[in-house]
């Protein structure tokens, strides 16, 4: 079912990771990604992976949930592994027809798979532990210096917030419409590509109509509450850094430094 889509989903919780300021989490995710791309050898990857596991452990998110989220990326991961396996330079270990597998190829394949998995899993931790509202608040706050050069930061954040807010609603709506059309005998699972594409019309038409209707209603509701854009707007939940945020920043910096040092030694 569509409800099983976990990508970008938020799992509420009361852990330190959940309560952390969204700005901290956003910055740390960037630091984490940079560290991941700087890591060169096994020790560097181990350090980054260890940090991720620690965060997962603190946040009490089940590893099963993360693995389930990685499932849709299986194809890309396997493809990368296979491509890297055959594109290594150096002395071939195994050779058949035009293919050869080298030690470097194996190394590359393992590290690339690790890199993609860690990259995606790390960003999952951000969306799993941060509500969409907090996320956009954090983003808006981090990008607010750009307002000086005339970028509509608040408007973009608001648009993103609304888009995120309506994803579950639209998924639910799609589910409902699908059920209703299935109840009238619609068949989405059989037939060739053309037949399947045609079978989507009974879902897409009502879905678009309802999305437009919702957008219209939301615009009216916002207008009724005197929404006039970002200027002079204050927040109900203003963002404040707490002790844990400084600790997290320090640990993030340590991780980055560690990876750079390890890289120096080629580890």
């Amino acid at each position: 079912m569509l409800k099983d889509v976990t990508l970008g989903q938020y799992f509420p919780g009361e852990t330190a990771v959940h309560k952390m300021d969204p700005r901290t989490k956003l910055v740390l995710v960037i630091v984490y990604i940079v560290a991941l791309f700087l890591a060169k050898g096994a020790a560097g990857y181990a350090l980054v992976a260890g940090c991720l596991l620690a965060v997962v452990w603190i946040s009490k998110i089940h590893l099963k949930v993360i693995l389930k989220g990685l499932k849709p990326l299986m194809l890309i991961i396997i493809l990368t592994a296979v491509l890297n396996l055959f594109y290594g330079q150096g002395e071939p270990l195994v050779q058949f027809w035009i293919f050869k597998i080298t030690k470097q190829g194996i190394e590359n394949a393992v590290f690339m798979v690790l890199r993609i998995t860690l990259l995606v899993a790390g960003t999952f931790m951000l969306t799993y532990t941060t509500s969409p509202i907090a996320l956009t608040d954090g983003l808006e706050s981090l990008l607010s210096p750009l307002k000086k050069i005339g970028a509509p930061v608040h408007e973009l954040a608001m648009m993103m917030c609304i888009a995120l807010r309506f994803i579950p609603t639209l998924i639910e709506e799609t589910d409902k419409i699908m059920s209703a059309q299935k109840a009238r005998g619609a068949d989405f699972e059989s037939g060739n590509i053309l037949a399947r594409a045609k079978a989507l019309i009974p879902i897409l038409v009502p879905l678009f109509i309802s999305a437009f209707r919702r957008a219209d209603e939301l615009a009216t509701a916002m207008e009724c509450r005197c929404y006039h854009g970002g200027e002079g707007r204050t927040k109900l939940h203003a963002l404040h850094y707490a002790g844990r945020d400084y600790t997290a920043y320090c640990l993030g910096a340590l991780m980055l430094a560690g990876v750079i040092v390890l890289r120096r030694f080629g580890l």
Partner: protein, 289 residues
């Protein structure tokens, strides 16, 4: 009465093994007889919608069986799909599922999926439109140009056109004006009488339930807690109130009268029944209030 649909010890769990795990149905069993008009009530989130989606094979029970005419509907994929034509389900606000260019084509969607001939589809669409009072002129209009009430009718006709043996409606009158409500209920009764079909209706209006159904199912916290005649169910007002439900307004009046010391049985749940009970009292001058 010949049983058509049987729900046997059905349980349903949403989101098993996630933090959102939720038991929506817990060991529910019931039988629907041919030609019966059954009401289904329960507060929001009590499991009504989950229950009716099991009746036409949209949801697969986590546990238990659903039988249509004695056959387990999940034993064969073809049977599951066929069940949807025999058990028609009209969702809440069904007008949001309209999609075709004309009302005619939209109503024809179900019958076409059944693989019927063009003539048969046409005949069924006209019959269904007749049941719900959609004129031939309206059949050629875009469904999006109809009024709210007419949209609802067109959507209901889309299910009726499959001529199901069991017609299930989830709050068919929600959001309509009183005249629209009564006329849709009339349409449903007309279909039931003409086809000898069973009807299961979910509603939050006790008055609607009281004046239409032969039998009443009450859901509470994922359990089926009552399965009896409306008279028997409405004889337990305290239990209903505890479940976030109520008895019909007239029954409330009678109960209040009893509280005030008037000797009148609180067994009426439609205005007509109450009239029969109260008129003699008024004429006889025995009333003490």
């Amino acid at each position: 009465m010949e049983p058509v649909l049987e729900i046997r010890n059905v349980s349903h769990v949403y989101g098993a093994d996630t933090p959102f795990e939720h038991v929506a149905l817990d060991n529910v069993s019931l039988t629907v007889g041919r030609g019966e008009f059954v009401g289904l009530i329960g507060h929001t989130g009590s499991g009504k919608s989950t229950l009716i989606q099991h009746m036409n094979g949209l949801l697969r029970p986590s546990n238990g069986q659903v039988l249509f005419e004695g056959q387990d509907v999940w034993s064969d994929a073809k049977l599951t799909r066929r069940l949807r034509f025999h058990v028609g389900l009209v969702f809440q606000y069904p007008e949001y599922q309209l999609f075709e260019e004309t009302v005619f084509q939209d109503i024809a969607f179900g019958p076409k999926n059944m693989g019927l001939s063009e003539d048969e589809v046409r005949a069924r669409v006209l019959r269904a439109a007749g049941f719900v009072g959609i004129t031939e002129k309206e059949l050629e209009k875009s469904p999006f140009d109809l009024s709210g009430g007419q949209k609802r009718r067109a959507a209901i006709a889309g299910v009726i056109a499959m001529e199901p043996d069991v017609l299930i409606l989830d709050e068919p009158t929600a959001g309509l004006d009183p005249v629209g409500r009564e006329s849709i209920l009339e349409n449903i009764r007309a279909y039931q009488a003409a086809q000898g079909a069973s009807v299961i209706m979910v509603s939050h209006s006790m008055e609607e339930i009281a004046s239409n159904v032969d039998r009443l199912l009450v859901m509470n916290d994922s359990h089926l807690v009552m399965d009896a005649t409306p008279a028997e169910v409405f004889a337990k007002p305290e239990e209903l109130v505890q479940m976030g439900l109520a008895v019909p307004k007239v029954t409330q009046v009678l109960l209040k009268l009893r509280e005030l010391g008037v000797d009148v049985p609180a067994s009426a749940f439609t205005v007509e029944q109450a009239e029969k009970l109260l008129l003699p009292l008024l004429k006889g001058g025995k009333a003490a209030c």
